[in-house]
Amino acid sequence: MSKIILTVDDSRTMRDMLRMALTAAGFEVVQAEDGVHGLEVLAEQKPDVIITDINMPRMDGFSFIENVREDDQYRAVPILVLTTESDADKKLRARTAGATGWIVKPFDPVKLVDAVRRVAA
């Protein structure tokens, strides 16, 4: 059974790229447009891995991660954060919020799948 990956990003371009890279690697992809939407999708799907952007309208990535972690069901699900330019500040904040790891944008599909594999059981 292929793994389900939830991607949360407000940019359609980014969503499309994530979908393309991940489905090509054999993952099943569900998508959300921001943190609030992400939590809604989470209520319906049980993803094996979550990939989220930080800068998003309505609910940003940090609060999204905190919300996910508060849910007993998802407190151990791996969450990867999309950041740009290996921004140490943001990485730290994401970690404090409970992120498992990060993916530096722009990513190539190989790097992305690599990072997912590094956290996916």
Binding site: M1, S2, K3, D10, S11, R12, T13, M14, R15, D16, M17, R19, M20, T23, A24, A25, G26, E28, V29, V30, Q31, A32, E33, V41, E44, Q45, N55, M56, P57, R75, A76, V77, P78, I79, T84, E85, R95, G98, A99, T100, G101, W102, K105, P106, F107, D108, P109, V110, K111, V113, D114, R117, R118, V119, A120, A121
Partner: protein, 739 residues
């Protein structure tokens, strides 16, 4: 790569949206609204463009966006005051960003001059603490190939069952290093969803390894916290990879664990003494591994040697990760999967247009059917009639839905205006504040497309000729900044666009003298203010003493008027000296269908757009009065309204008819002016498909278009406003303004 190209198109579409958000946000901030959410949205827009651009190696775009983003970030975190000067600069930077996006889209190479100057200007706002963009954002071009070759080994899997350490030492195929990795996870590591087994699995991909678990820290069961971290591991790894590669695997967990990596001379050195826990081959769930990474190596025998040998392979030999192993039938699987997020689809416009054409035919066909059935003289409540009514309703619903597909908010046209205004303002040395209203007003796509040019021209015109220079304005006691307002609204089934400025208004004496000079009017013509204003729409009229390159361009207001008329629209002016002018364009919402009232006039069948009709009145001898020579008015609830005989205006007949023998339709024309149109009889109300008269025949004054009725006959659709204007001209017939 097709899929990538498609995503790129999406990216450019998204860029347009982001650019709009960016501009709108900056304009909001400019108005003094420092809502953090607005500033965030502005930041996000640039950030998003940068992110996407990075993915497509659009280096110029990435660099400029980065500089822009840095400056914006300072505003966002409150380190930089969004002063008017800074916001103006950012607006110009947004324009340059837009140019870069478009250049990237069209594969153009834009002139680097303006963007470099702007980048330099933006950088002056950021203190030295911010690293230059080159350092912070290395061009992704350089990264990608390196990354690809580094991940070269992704294709093969370490299969633990085949590892035999003795063999390894004997073979000594490639230069390998022995590492000892001591790894002590903290509880936080697990709390964040990391997993030791997975890390070791990944480590195992680098080469043969041996894992020992240290359980000495493990407390007695009663003291053990279920989520505590008590185990630590020592891993002996033999790999041809660099130490960096090992560190990379622990990248995510370095904060939540202690990690020691050291080079040893051999694996056997110190693992003989104690082996409480051996990482046995059987512990690895191979099937699990295969779901994630395919095993491209055929023979199991080869797996020991292959990893070491393939590390030296050139990048192009690297097996495509994951895809290679999938059975070909699976390729379509992603598309068939339930897609929760996709709420929109993109459709070729041609298909929609074809659908609209077909629906048009359906409407005509249904009208014909209705008429045939009516000829049979069936009872109103007969099954056929009822069925037909239902069909009519369905047809209408289909039509509305199809039209809704093409309807778009005028936003797409409006969002080009701020930039236009900035540029024209800069060229003319005027201060202009643009206010737009009703951007969400929806109108058919075909109308929107043809709206852009006239609107652009009128805005140029308003700034160039309407608004005064700052010093003139100051002298007149007005704020130096001129106000230009562009508003869209729906009014009686049409879209109305108003362009108003608070400038000097039309200089009527000058307009008049120019018109006389150019021989457009007689020197002694008696003209009302309104008539003089309308002179600017005459062909060959140009008010500017020197034709400026702003609103000149050989295009006069006459062209604007003609192009609007070609759309079935009208344009009018309201000007007050010293206070400004308002140009009002009114256009049909769609160019395809309209609800019409079918009437007969002097034996002809005409259609009057239902949206214009306010009320139907029966003229009485007591309510109709003669007024002046041949004009008549009608009293409607203590108000006198001009009564216009449509037959006379269209010259179907010369003689007056008895108003009592006809029906009067109270219509509302441009600017809310009410008139009563006198027709012979009303035949009914019907939806008609508009067929352009201009394309098929030519422009006929007073007629907007034609249609085909249910019986197959052609009927003309009345242009109510033109009729009203014509009738006025008949009354004051000496004016050269007919039409």
């Amino acid at each position: 790569m097709d899929a990538m190209e498609e995503i790129k198109q999406v990216f450019f579409q998204e860029c347009e949206e982001q650019l709009f958000e960016l501009e709108a946000g900056l304009l909001t901030i400019e108005r003094g609204d420092f809502d953090p959410e607005t500033i965030n949205a502005v930041f996000r827009a640039v950030h998003s463009i940068k992110g996407g651009a990075g993915a497509f190696n659009l280096t110029d775009l990435v660099h400029f966006a980065h500089v822009f983003e840095n400056t914006m970030d300072l505003v966002r975190v409150g380190k930089l005051e969004p002063s008017p000067g800074l916001i103006k600069l950012m607006l110009r930077a947004a324009d340059i960003l837009a140019d870069l996006v478009r250049a990237a889209r069209d594969d153009d190479t834009s002139d680097p001059g303006p963007r470099e100057a702007m980048a330099a200007e933006l950088k002056t706002w950021t203190p030295g603490a911010i690293p230059p963009p080159q350092a912070a954002a290395p061009p992704p071009v350089a990264v990608a190939p390196k990354e690809a070759s580094r991940n070269n080994d992704d294709g093969f899997v370490f299969v633990p069952t085949k590892v035999d350490l003795n063999d390894f030492e004997d073979l000594s195929l490639a230069p390998t290093t022995h590492f000892r990795v001591i790894f002590r996870p903290k509880a936080e590591l697990y709390a964040k969803g990391n997993e030791t087994t997975i890390l070791f699995r990944e480590l195992g991909r680098l080469g043969p390894m041996h894992v020992a678990c240290d359980i000495s820290e493990l407390p007695p069961l009663e003291d053990m916290l279920p989520e505590g971290a008590y185990l630590s591991w020592t891993v002996h790894l033999e790999t041809s990879e660099e130490e960096d590669k090992i560190k990379a695997i622990f990248d995510f967990v370095e904060w939540d664990s202690t990690l020691e990596i050291e080079v040893t001379d051999g694996m056997r050195a110190d693992d003989a003494k104690e082996e409480p826990f051996v990482f046995k081959p059987t512990m690895v769930d191979l099937s699990l591994l295969e779901t994630i990474v395919p095993d491209p190596i055929d023979g199991a025998e080869a797996s020991v040697i292959e990893p070491l040998a393939s590390a030296a392979k050139p990048p192009q030999a690297a097996p495509a990760p994951a895809k290679a192993e999938k059975p070909s039938g699976d390729d379509h699987a992603p598309a068939e999967k339930k897609d929760a997020a996709a709420a929109t689809i993109r459709v070729d416009l041609e298909r929609v247009d074809r659908l609209i054409d077909l629906v048009g035919e359906l409407v005509i066909n249904q009208a014909m059917l209705t008429e045939r059935v009516a000829e049979l003289g069936l009872a109103r409540m007969s099954a056929v009639s009822i069925g037909l009514d239902e069909l009519e309703q369905l047809t209408r619903e289909i039509q509305d839905s199809v039209m809704a597909i093409r309807a778009q908010p005028v936003k797409s046209v409006f969002q080009r205006m701020p930039r236009l205004v900035r540029e024209v303002a800069l060229q003319t040395g005027k201060n202009v504040r643009l206010v737009t209203e009703g951007e969400g007003t929806e109108v058919d796509k075909t109308v929107i497309e043809r709206l852009s040019d006239p609107l652009t021209h009128m805005i140029r015109n308003a700034i160039d000729h309407g608004l005064e220079k700052p010093d003139v304005r100051r002298a007149a006691g007005k704020p130096e900044e001129g106000l230009l307002k562009v508003a869209a609204l729906h009014r009686s089934g049409r879209i109305v666009i108003e362009i108003s400025d608070d400038g000097a208004g039309i200089n009527r004496s000058r307009v008049r003298s120019i018109a006389v000079e150019k021989g457009l009017i007689a020197a002694d013509a008696k003209l009302s203010d309104e008539d003089i204003d309308n002179l600017i729409f005459l062909p060959g009229f140009s008010t500017a003493a020197v034709v400026s390159d702003i609103s000149g361009r050989g295009v006069g207001m006459d062209v604007v008027k003609r192009s609007i008329q070609a759309l079935g629209g009208r344009i009018s002016i309201l000007s007050r000296p010293g206070l400004g002018s308002t140009f009002t364009m009114s256009l049909p919402l769609t160019l395809a269908v309209l609800d019409g009232m079918v009437v007969s006039v002097a034996g002809q069948t005409l259609v009057i757009p239902l949206t214009a009709v306010v009320e139907i009145l029966l003229p009485q001898a007591t309510t109709v009065h003669n007024f002046g020579g041949n004009a008549r008015v009608m009293g409607v609830r203590s108000e006198f309204i001009p009564l216009i005989d449509v037959g006379q205006v269209l010259q179907f007949r010369q003689e007056d008819i008895d108003p009592k023998s006809g029906v009067a339709l109270l219509v509302e024309a441009e600017g809310g002016v009410r008139n009563a149109l006198l027709v012979d009889a009303i035949q009914g109300q019907r939806q008609v498909v508009i067929k352009s008269l201009e394309t098929n025949y030519g422009h006929v004054p007073g007629i907007a278009a034609a249609t085909i009725l249910g019986d197959g006959r052609v009927a003309l659709i009345l242009d109510v406003d033109a009729i009203v204007v014509d009738s006025r001209n008949d009354i004051a017939s000496s004016l050269p303004l007919a039409g």
